[in-house]
Assembly symmetry: C2
Homo-oligomer: 336 residues x 2
DNA sequence: CCCGAATTTGCAACCGGTTGCACGCATCGC
DNA sequence: GCGATGCGTGCAACCGGTTGCAAATTCGGG
């Protein structure tokens, strides 16, 4: 169907190499030749076959975009930004949905079969071993929203969840809460673990504060709601740090459906600052994660790796900030 | 790096064709040969290169998944389902984000360069001409959530938006509303146009009902909120059919921030039944669109086309249903 | 106008597979 | 024991490009 290099060469009356060279920049072609070829190409509607050329060049410009989080609305924004950023530098995202996949090996193989140039893992819940599998296979990989440790096995871009846990604790203490709770996502997620560690560490400094902890079965509305309903039935804390905004909103829903409200009866602070957290009928106090920066940086790192930069993996950590809205009680008046 | 066909052949002491044949099913290979090859392959960790084989077979198993809707949370579910369904039949979604792309030609070219086997367009806002461009390029295409007309230029899977408009109108009339409004998405979207047509047509049968119309600049929370704020300032209708749930939730937020509430002051009915419409703090009455069926069917149609079935394009239309929640006044008591 | 250097072009091999064809060999019937 | 049949295998050409190398062309300078 589609015109090939050979067709164009025949029509222009030149060699195939000449055609190839006109379409690869950096190759030496005379102006006259270029004209002839371009005209023939235009007439035939020729487009070079990216896959065929990848055979010899070894680059496909295909990037595996791997995630297991297709329930949390925040990830729509993540996908939006990743696809745009990748497209902007001429890369094509090959999306891999790991939701019900158990075996990392299999995805690695699949992506290898398609000779992806690199892999972006976008998830805060996948075990680090997963990203490692790609590195072991010799594929450049960057883990966005992964756990940031000192000397990570692969490039990581994200936030420091331990610090976030501390911030949350600090915020609750400053507002005078003395019985606080951690309502995390699944406790197998590194993000959950780290946030809990930070939360507890910070509270350790405040002897008078009582702390409890529990975990929702997933980062989802329903899971948050169910877990909060359970907590409400067993004497809840005064305020909770929820693992994530969507969990928080589920929790708020539980609170409302018991005829209670935030912050009057229970305080809530979330994490992510997803768009709907700012909606007036939700108005969630939360910790903002700089998604845009994380994505941009991850793509940037990927580009550098593709360009041949193979420095040792580094964790790039971005700061979070508290977004004050309406689900925590006000700061006590300053005594002057 | 990776072992190639040649390496395996050398190690097993057989010809390259023999190796190729062991990995393509339907080819004739003796059991003994198969064993030798498989062992050599295992030892070398050989995986056939999907792209190389696509050169001769003409199939890449790559499917372009094209959308311009990365703001509406409902589309996360759409992507989740599409990627899973495609993966389940051995196809790989190559995601194309058209958010700020103006020229359809360009995406067509790009996807052609990657020799995708087919294209799924998932959008209710892209003009039909867009999907047509792929058909014209000889690429199998199915348009999910597209406009369903009698003899469509390409396969379409979705709902009948005219019927939805009628349902909404019918629902409002049945509840005794006499001043109703249509708060649509961007009026360039076919879905908006069709819903409006149906809405008006149905209301035409009810002489006493006054109807107004306006359009939000996008299918997004902010757009819905802004438009509703504007309406509230100019004497709103008693109830609105909003183009979409996310728009509806924006509208609800506007209503609340004016100290009003639904359904007491203004009634709202949405469309989509996205997950959060059911959340207690939103509780939106809406029209449910059977997303799962639409996606499954779209992938099914695609598979058939890939298998060589090139019957004339058909529009596959699914029914919607009203989901009664709390943003419309109750049905008047039946007079018996 | 001639010569050497620089640039442009074509040839041919190669990337990693697939596949039509012909040949070798075992099997079968008679 | 013979030829017909058929399966299994290897050869070689091909898919659509790229690229090292050498030949051909262009160019500049004297």
């Amino acid at each position: 169907m589609a015109a090939t290099l050979k067709d164009v060469a025949a029509r222009a009356g030149v060699s195939r190499s000449a055609v190839s060279r006109t379409f690869t920049d950096g190759a030496s072609v005379s102006a006259k030749m270029r004209h002839k070829v371009e005209r023939a190409a235009r007439e035939l509607g020729y487009r070079p076959n990216a896959l065929a050329s990848s055979l010899t060049t070894g680059r496909t410009k295909l990037i595996g975009l791997v995630s297991n989080n297709f329930r949390n609305p925040i990830f729509l924004e993540v996908f939006d930004r990743f696809t745009r950023a990748l497209q902007d530098c001429g890369l094509r995202p090959l999306l891999v949905n790991l939701t019900d996949e158990t075996d990392p090996e299999q995805s690695v193989r699949m992506l290898q079969q398609y000779s992806v140039d690199g892999v972006v893992v976008a998830s805060s819940t996948l075990p680090p071993a997963f990203a490692d599998a790609f590195r072991d296979a010799g594929v450049p990989v960057v883990h966005a929203f992964g756990r940031s440790v000192g000397a990570p096995p692969v490039h990581v871009v994200g936030i420091d969840n331990v610090v976030c846990g501390r911030m949350a604790a600090q915020t609750l203490v400053a507002r005078g809460y003395t019985r606080v709770g951690f309502l995390g996502g699944p406790d197998s997620a590194t993000s959950t673990q780290d946030r809990l560690v930070g939360f507890l560490a910070q509270l350790d400094r405040h002897a008078g504060v009582i702390v409890s902890q529990s975990f929702a079965r997933a980062y989802s509305f329903d899971a948050g709601r169910d877990e909060m309903l359970r907590l409400l039935d067993h004497g809840p804390a005064e305020a909770y740090f929820c693992g994530d905004d969507v969990l928080s909103i589920g929790a708020l829903s539980a609170i409302q459906s018991r005829g209670l409200s935030a912050p009057e009866h229970v305080g809530i602070i979330g994490l992510n600052d997803m768009e709907m957290s700012g909606w007036q009928n939700i108005d969630l106090t939360t910790i903002r994660q700089p998604i845009a920066q994380i994505v941009t940086t991850a793509v940037d790192v990927m580009q550098k790796m593709l360009a041949g930069d193979d420095r040792a993996p580094v964790a790039r950590v971005f700061d979070c900030e508290i977004v004050e809205r309406g689900t925590l009680r006000a700061l006590p008046a300053r005594v002057s």
